[in-house]
């Protein structure tokens, strides 16, 4: 049944609020299953279109991120069927297993995202700049190496070390919170 204009406006507002709040989490879920930034962004875009189309099916009060990730999951499967291995590294069995694990970790990943902000601050400014340059839109290891005056090989190694450092820092922060 077609929505009344007033209801439609409210529904749009609600959708905007939810997408504004949760886009990062949905992207994170997609990127975990499709570990290529640009493919993941394309899939996020496609997923968002489906979310817009199907939003009247979303039940108020239920978990929006879980609902949106379900839509993302089916877009990823569809992408796999349509483009063979394009956009998806893993086979169906692994994709499903990782998707199941990821769906149980959304709350932890939110906490990890917040903790990462603190951990980034603890990095030496030179290291922080290297990491953030690497992850800037349109950038990569080459650009990060160029801007920091490092060789490609040194930047590559430094990034591996810094990712591990950040991963451990985040885990330590969360472990510390749990203990208090």
């Amino acid at each position: 049944m077609k929505q009344e204009p007033q209801d439609e406006t409210e529904s749009r507002k609600r959708l905007m609020t939810l997408m504004t709040r949760h886009q990062r989490q949905i992207f994170g879920y997609i990127y975990t299953l499709v570990p290529n930034r640009y493919d993941a962004e394309d899939l996020l875009q496609e997923t968002s279109l489906v979310i817009c189309e199907k939003f009247d099916e979303f039940e108020e009060g239920t978990d929006f991120v879980a609902w949106a990730c379900q839509i993302a999951y089916w877009r990823i499967r569809y992408s796999r069927q349509k483009f063979a291995r394009s956009k998806v590294v893993f086979n169906q069995e692994i994709l499903d297993a990782v998707a199941r694990t990821a769906s149980t970790m959304t709350s932890e990943l939110d906490s990890r995202h917040e903790a990462l902000g603190n951990c980034l601050q603890k990095l030496h400014p030179r290291d922080r700049e290297l990491v953030l340059t690497r992850y800037e839109p349109g950038s990569g290891v080459e650009e990060a190496a160029r801007r920091s005056g490092r060789t490609l090989q040194t930047a590559y190694k430094a990034l591996a070390r810094l990712r591990k450092l950040l991963l451990d820092c985040v885990s330590n922060q969360l472990a510390g919170r749990g203990a208090t």
Partner: protein, 544 residues
């Protein structure tokens, strides 16, 4: 079964090459095996990939902020995946409307705001037989130090406390440049650095080496011509990056380890044992710690709608705190379990006030409290945790508000924000997480209308955010505030003459207002012990 260290290292490497797009066929098979057979491996993988996804978000936000700074008129963000939303332009009305808002995304937790160039970033907090090279480089006891200031010590000892909490004792003859709250350059001479955990990442550099603290105490000896520097680690560890020589790989030095960094390369320190023995002897410094007067509301005991104040030192003329806009039936709900004992709970309607004439005087203050902001707090609940007005032309009729940022155009939504006449300061830790955070705001008003106003923020003991000038267009009124001055207000936003409609929602505990700028380590002590160290105790602590 937990993953062994070796397995974690392998998974870490596999995730790294996957993120960088250099995964070989053999590595693809290996990763597939792990993900198909081990739940722990899948969890590690999800965390590692989640880290990269978060870094995309942080990096994108940083670039967005830079873009905003350089081109304030360009409201539409045209970078990163945000820009890809532009492809949605052909969508139906609902989706198009969504597009506009998604482009103006609220900023996620991000990094500290760059500081203005003329800021004050450190202080001379102690000395012994201290003589400066000339009048131009002399520093008065307790004097604040500018970013970029050069200190030329002829003889004696000078203790410098940076706003980050890092502390350096410089031994003359020595020359040091104060670069920021987080960095210094030792041109020549000897220094001993003590870095608390809150200042981890503080660095000291010179032409031969850059030493980044990883939570420690260390000493540096730099020769007069800047050709060699010795680094000795007394506690913890540092990362030392040689700035000269053929091999410039960083070296991690741990407790009782030392190295000599010269233009010719890195070598051992021959007389390190002798030097460590010398360093073990402590130097008694004269400290410039003035006595502290403060008011404290613990919120532990309520008498109806009144919360008692207690004072230390020469008592302020401050009164007990009275709740406003609350029904008697709701009083019990306003008194909840706190970080220490009980807390005052703001429901989005009630506020509180206490007569406090000194707060509006043109003198430094430090406001310290614990706060818990619910995850679902609305933008209308951002103002204010604490507010007051100043009888100073520096602030005009703009009250001072300590709250959380609700303006995504100016910074991350939800971080600590202090507004004052002429500027605002932003933190970087998101406060809207339903957890207790320790908040300290130091306000040092200038002596006259032309003086620079200092505002320093600390969250959970860590320095984050100082005052920045207001964006163009903001106006400082010349009319002084009257109706709201001489009172400290909690949980509400102040207008020029009265309380406005906006109310803070959340909990507050252990509010201290001190009559001077507390040092970073005093803030940490207050956070840990819920009491301010007494002057004599403070002096003793600093002799260690």
């Amino acid at each position: 079964m937990n993953l062994a260290d070796k397995e974690i290292l392998e998974l870490n490497e596999l995730c790294h090459v996957l993120v960088e797009g250099t995964l070989s066929d053999a590595q693809t098979s290996r990763l597939a095996h792990w993900l198909a057979t081990s739940e722990e491996a899948r969890q590690f993988y999800v965390r590692a990939m989640g880290l990269s996804a978060s870094l995309f978000s942080y990096a994108s936000e940083m670039q967005t902020e830079e873009s905003d700074t350089t081109a304030p008129a360009a409201k539409i963000v045209d970078v990163g995946w945000w820009a890809r939303w532009a492809k949605l332009g052909a969508l139906a009305a609902a989706a198009s409307l969504a597009l506009v808002l998604w482009l103006e995304w609220p900023k996620q937790p991000t990094l500290p705001v760059p500081a203005p160039t003329d800021e004050l970033v450190a202080q001379l907090t102690g000395a012994k037989a201290c003589q400066w090279v000339d009048n131009g480089s002399s520093v008065q006891p307790g004097g604040r130090l500018h970013k970029g200031q050069k200190l030329e010590l002829a003889k004696g000892f000078a203790e410098i406390t940076f706003d980050s909490g890092a502390q350096i004792v410089l031994e003359g003859p020595a020359s040091l440049d104060v670069k920021s709250a987080w960095a210094a350059t030792l041109n020549r001479g000897t220094l001993k650095a003590s870095i608390p955990p809150e200042a981890m990442g503080f660095s000291i550099s010179n032409p031969t080496v850059e030493v980044v603290d990883l939570g420690t105490e260390f000493t540096m000896f730099a020769d007069a011509i800047g050709s060699a520097t010795e680094v000795l680690v007394l506690k913890g560890e540092v990362e030392a990056q040689p700035n000269a020589g053929a091999d410039q790989q960083p070296i991690v030095l741990r407790e009782r380890e030392s190295r000599r960094f010269a233009t010719s390369g890195v070598s051992i320190v021959h007389d390190s044992e002798e030097k460590f023995a010398q360093l073990a002897q402590s130097v008694l410094l004269d400290h410039f710690i003035p006595p502290t007067d403060y008011m404290h509301w613990s919120f532990n005991e309520a008498d109806g709608d009144i919360f008692k104040a207690d004072a230390s030192g020469t008592p302020f003329a401050a009164a007990d705190l009275k709740l406003e806009n609350v029904l008697s039936s709701a009083l019990a709900g306003a008194h909840s379990a706190g970080r220490w004992g009980h807390a005052l709970q703001f429901d989005g309607h009630l506020f509180a006030k206490a007569a406090f004439p000194d707060i509006s005087g043109n003198t430094p203050h430090t406001v310290v409290f614990w706060v818990k902001v619910p995850k679902d707090a609305n933008l209308s609940n951002a103002y204010a945790m604490v507010a007051w007005s100043m009888n100073s032309k520096n602030f005009g009729s703009h009250p001072i508000h300590i709250g959380w940022n609700r303006n995504p155009n100016e910074g991350t939504v939800g971080v600590l924000r202090t507004d004052y006449g002429g500027g605002f300061a932003l933190g970087s830790t998101p406060l809207r997480d339903g957890r207790w955070h320790h908040v300290s705001v130091i306000l040092i008003p200038g002596e006259d209308a032309k003086s620079f106003v200092e505002v320093k923020q600390y969250v959970d003991g860590r320095f984050e955010g100082e005052g920045n000038p207001s964006p163009p267009g903001s106006e400082i009124f010349s009319k002084l505030s009257g109706a709201t001055s001489g009172t400290v207000w909690l949980g509400c936003r102040l207008g020029i003459n009265s309380v406005r409609q906006e109310r803070f929602r959340g909990e507050m505990d252990e509010l201290f207002i001190a009559d001077r700028a507390l040092e970073p380590w005093e803030i940490v002590q207050l956070m840990k012990d819920n009491q301010l160290p007494q002057s004599e105790l403070a002096a003793a602590k600093k002799q260690n």
